[in-house]
């Protein structure tokens, strides 16, 4: 019984292979976009985890000096000898001519083995040659390859070490970081012995910090991944419209077969079971296909994502994908889930299918006006909710919830909007044919509404993301011009060279601007502190967002400092507020924009810097030169002064690099946008094909009344274009709202800066044209069918009516 039933159901696909392909492609595309994004996220997360587990799977409390400066090694010995079980740690960035690595210095004697990455645990890698000079750097094979030839201790490459990370013995690390006798921090271990005195008795001046909640990197990059996930979900949703269309069509066409099967003695339960089994098979096939496609998408996009994450957050991600069983399973799972969601309505109809056929095949999606009104009410509720979240909600998740509610609300409202628009259009009708055209178009709205909603979502996402990226680009390039005002940036290797360099440069440049730099901790997070000269270069160019009057005088006098936007937002600072820096208190004289930087930054006057940070390195300079002399001076610096070429960076290449980082950041979103729009076009095609079958009874009378089939086909095409155009118009405000949310809410949460919004009508026109093209292409085939349908088929409509 089951095989016979299944054969009858499946034979349909054999006779309609195109439908099967549509269904499978839709499902596979949806799964591919989703699982591709998931693969990227999983790979990046795994990289973070490896990086975070550089210091142990379990986050441990840390003992550090209060200012984030290194602590003396004596403290380690004193604490151990007082019964504090601590292990010393050195963390730092090791710059080499072959690029930089994050160096982690460990003491294998006191560090619990479980705190080491798995690759090292239980390995004999940490032997005498690791412990004693010249020591060893343990890195991933890729990092070892990158460091080939660098003037560093011998490298030992092990699989499973996080990229961009190097382990060394604590003593070796001290040498490499120039930190003899000093340590970055002490980790407090478990199972402390009885009777240990309080910390302040043993090591006064040190502070004990609770373990960090989650890695800094993963917190920073969470926003980026949430971004990707949101796009993945959107693409998946759009893909589901295709599946819905294909399943709806297949079920509609097989409605008489279902009825016959029931009449011939297949119970509802068995029929539903067979249909579910059939769908499950499709889901598995398409899911597998989709995972393969997703893999492809992920491999193509991952290098860009990795570059973005490195450029934007300094997080290292390997450029190659690893196969993860969890990812496979989630891909298949989402395919099955998606299929079920898309098929729910159809299955429900089959379950309630009356055994005796009503006279006329009913349009499967012929929603009544009442349904449309109900949808509109839900839509308005969602939009109100979105506004509420926007006003009172907070955080990145809140931002995305708002986006989601807004998009779904707008989509649900679309049918009513189209309906109203078409009613208004009908008023312009002067001929009976026009009357019919408007009315008939209105009648098509419910059937096409799913596909049109998909189009709306895709267009809105495109407009929104496009506006955000373009706004960002415009702001960013302008900001780069302000920020990188010096023509040449040079750094010296030590203070003696710095002094010589300054002397040598003085007669050859308009100005030599010292850029002194120190690292510190502000409000509990690492920050960079820069000392800058009082010079017109800053006064004229620096991208100030808000400031007290005479801000540069205040800074020069030491009466105030400048903070970057990220810090100001995080700590809720405005000009005039007081703020605490390590060792002293000052006030915020101004806030400047600082795009592309994940951490807090502070600018202080040169004199203040000298008093507060006497130990900081004073090695970097910005040089002001007359136009066009940068190249000559750079050559002279190398050839005459003898400065290594890698110590000189010119403004142009710095800008180029920054822009490159920027562009790669949005390659991914751009690619997902294009894919989403393609998928939406496909959704329209399948919906139109579903409707085409039901069109015959509607078109036949008009044909009989004297319209040629070609004319009908042209009207068919025009109808699709009209609906797409109306949808595009509706998508515009939604897209702009989306852009605003992205710029003013999501960006602030994700990156810490807010961007001014710029609009680009030319882009909208292009996008509108694309939407029309997609709809036109999708309508072409159904229209052609009407144009070439044999009159006998049309006659059947009258003959068959029972």
């Amino acid at each position: 019984m089951l095989t016979a039933g299944l054969q009858a159901l499946l034979s349909h696909w054999w006779r309609h292979p195109f439908q099967l392909v549509t269904l499978l492609i839709g499902l596979a595309t949806a799964t591919a976009l989703w699982s591709g994004v998931q693969a990227i996220n999983a790979e990046a997360r795994a990289s973070y985890d490896r990086a975070a587990s550089a210091l142990g799977q379990t986050p441990r409390p840390r003992i550090t000096a209060p200012d984030g400066v290194p602590l003396e090694q004596e403290h380690f010995v004193a604490l151990r000898r007082a019964g504090w079980l601590v292990t010393p740690l050195i963390e730092g960035r090791l710059s080499t001519e072959a690029g930089s690595v994050r160096l982690v210095g460990i003491d294998p004697f006191t560090l619990p083995p479980a705190d080491l990455p798995d690759a090292l645990e239980g390995d004999t890698a940490l032997d005498l040659s690791f412990l004693t000079p010249p020591g060893q750097l343990i890195t991933s094979p890729a990092t070892a390859e990158r460091l080939e030839g660098a003037d560093l201790p011998p490298r030992l490459a092990l699989d499973g070490i996080a990229p961009g990370l190097a382990y060394a013995d604590i003593g070796i690390a001290q040498d490499l970081m120039d930190m003899d006798g000093r340590l970055t921090a002490l980790l407090v271990l478990d199972d402390q012995p009885l009777g240990r005195p309080p910390l302040e008795e043993v090591a006064p001046g040190l502070v004990l910090r609770p373990p960090a909640q989650g890695g800094d990197i993963s917190r920073l990059t969470d926003s980026f991944h949430l971004n990707l996930t949101a796009f993945g979900l959107l693409s998946f949703a759009v893909g589901l419209f295709i599946v819905r269309g294909a399943i709806g069509l297949a079920f509609e066409q097989r409605r008489p077969v279902f009825r016959t099967l029931r009449a011939l003695g297949l119970s509802t339960r068995v029929l539903l079971g067979l249909l579910l089994a059939e769908l499950l098979v499709f889901a598995l096939v398409a899911g597998t296909l989709g995972i393969a496609l997703g893999w492809l998408i992920a491999s193509l996009l991952l290098p860009d994502v990795a570059a973005t994450l490195r450029g934007l957050y300094g997080a290292s991600v390997e450029g190659a994908l690893t196969l993860r069983p969890a990812w496979w399973l989630s891909g298949v799972g989402i395919a099955v889930l998606g299929t079920l969601i898309a098929a729910t309505a159809s299955l429900w109809q089959v379950a309630r299918l009356p055994l005796l056929a009503p006279a006329q095949p009913r349009a499967w999606a012929m929603a009544s006006e009442r349904t449309m009104r109900r949808q509109a009410v839900v839509a308005l509720a969602l939009i109100v909710f979105a506004v509420g979240v926007g006003l009172y909600g907070a955080g990145l998740v809140g931002g995305f919830v708002m986006l989601g509610a807004l998009l779904v609300g707008a989509a649900l409202l679309l049918p009513l909007l189209l309906h109203v628009a078409l009613r208004l259009g009908a008023r312009t009708a002067r001929t009976p044919l026009a009357d019919w055209f408007w009315a008939d178009t209105r009648q098509q709205v419910p059937g096409l509404s799913l596909a049109l909603m998909a189009l709306l979502l895709a267009l809105a996402a495109n407009i929104g993301v496009g506006t955000m990226v373009s706004s960002f680009r415009l702001t960013f390039t302008g900001w780069l011009d302000q920020r990188l005002a010096s023509e040449l940036y040079v750094s010296s290797d030590d203070e003696a060279q710095a002094a010589a360099l300054q002397e040598w440069l003085a007669p050859r440049t308009d100005a030599v601007l010292p850029i002194w730099r120190a690292s510190g901790e502000i409000a509990g997070a690492p920050a960079e502190i820069y000392g800058v000269a009082d010079h017109p270069t800053y006064r004229d160019n620096w991208p100030i967002l808000a400031a007290l009057p005479d801000v540069w005088d205040l800074v020069a006098r030491g009466d105030g400092i400048l903070v970057n936007e990220q810090l100001a937002r995080r700590e809720d600072l405005s000009p005039g507020d007081t703020m605490a820096l390590p060792g002293w208190e000052t006030r915020v004289a101004g806030i400047y924009s600082d795009y592309g930087n994940p951490s807090a930054q502070v600018l202080v006057g040169l004199e203040t810097f000298d008093t507060r940070f006497p130990e900081a390195e004073r090695l970097d300079f910005g040089l002001r030169l007359p136009q066009g002399e940068a190249d000559a001076l750079a050559r002279a610096l190398v050839e005459e002064f003898g400065l290594p070429a890698e110590n000189i960076v010119d403004q142009a290449s710095l800008k180029a690099f920054s822009l490159q980082v920027f562009e790669r950041t949005f390659t991914v979103t751009g690619a997902l946008n294009v894919l989403t729009l393609t998928v939406a076009g496909f959704a329209i095609l399948t919906s139109l094909m579903t409707l085409a079958r039901m069109r015959l009874p509607q078109v036949a009378p008009v044909w009989a009344l004297g319209l040629t089939r070609a004319r009908l086909a042209r009207l068919e095409l025009l109808r699709a274009l009209l609906l797409a155009a109306l949808t595009a118009v509706a998508a515009l405000p939604v897209g702009l709202l989306l852009a605003w949310v992205l710029l003013a809410v999501i960006n602030v949460e994700a990156f810490g800066w807010r961007l001014p919004m710029h609009v680009f009508p030319a882009d909208w026109a292009l996008l509108g044209a694309l939407a029309l093209l997609a709809a036109g292409l999708a309508a072409l085939w159904p229209a052609r069918r009407i144009a070439t349908i044999p009159p006998s088929e049309l006659l059947k409509v009258f003959a068959n009516e029972r």
């Binding site: 019984m1 095989t3 009858a8 034979s11 349909h12 009449a263 003695g265 119970s267 005796l356």
Partner: protein
């Protein structure tokens, strides 16, 4: 074989229910044939659907082989349609994606009693031997109806219900098809109840019942 007692059925038409069948009583024994005649809307198709278990009655009883249809759930009614009762529809209701041979074997396979020899004989007798690999849409109306009859009889039901089986066919073809059906039904020993508005066709049955506004007029 078949006992119908005081059968009532109404359809909702606007504000109040419109009665279609008002207390129908009839019996049909094995190997006997019965014609049900009446004008359009007299309720004859409804009665047939009720007996086939395709629809539920509002009152009265239908007993098939002693089992009360009203007491059956969907699964058991489906089993009844699969094995005991066979319906030949006016609209043929063939499965368009299956070939002639597959359609003929279909119900018997559902019932789990597929007999290849019997299928082959039926196909032969129905004159479809040269069309077994064609799809329904490639056949003429008469051929399609013969496939439908073959499908019903392949499962060897005890009760064959036919709803205007020749209604879509021209008179000559209709005669041929009916002859064939009567012959084959007699061969399987099934009871046959046929709904028709043609008194000429009804005359070929052993008994005739006439329905008028939901009641039997002999």
């Amino acid at each position: 074989m078949l006992v119908v007692e005081k059968l009532e059925k109404s359809f909702s038409g606007g504000d109040r229910p419109v009665p279609v069948l008002r207390g129908i009583d009839l019996t049909l024994d094995a190997s006997r044939t019965l014609a049900l005649t009446g004008e359009s809307g007299s309720g004859k198709s409804t009665l047939l659907h009720l007996i086939a278990g395709l629809d539920a009655a509002d009152g009265g009883r239908i007993l098939i082989d002693g089992d009360d249809l009203a007491a059956m759930d969907d699964t058991r009614r489906a089993a009844l349609r699969r094995g005991t009762v066979g319906v030949v529809f006016q609209q043929f209701n063939l499965i368009p994606s299956l070939t002639v041979a597959q359609n003929i074997a279909f119900q018997a396979r559902l019932a789990g009693r597929n007999d290849r020899d019997w299928d082959a004989r039926l196909t032969e007798r129905l004159g479809l031997a040269s069309h077994t690999h064609k799809y329904p849409e490639q056949l003429s109306g008469g051929q399609q109806q013969r496939v439908a009859i073959g499908r019903t009889l392949a499962a060897r039901p005890k009760l064959v219900l036919a709803d205007e089986p020749t209604g879509n066919l021209d008179e000559d073809t209709g005669e041929q098809v009916l002859d064939l059906m009567l012959e084959l039904v007699a061969e399987t020993g099934a009871a046959l109840m046929m709904v028709t508005h043609s008194t000429r066709l009804a005359a070929r049955m052993e008994r005739r019942l006439h329905l008028e506004r939901g009641e039997i007029r002999c």
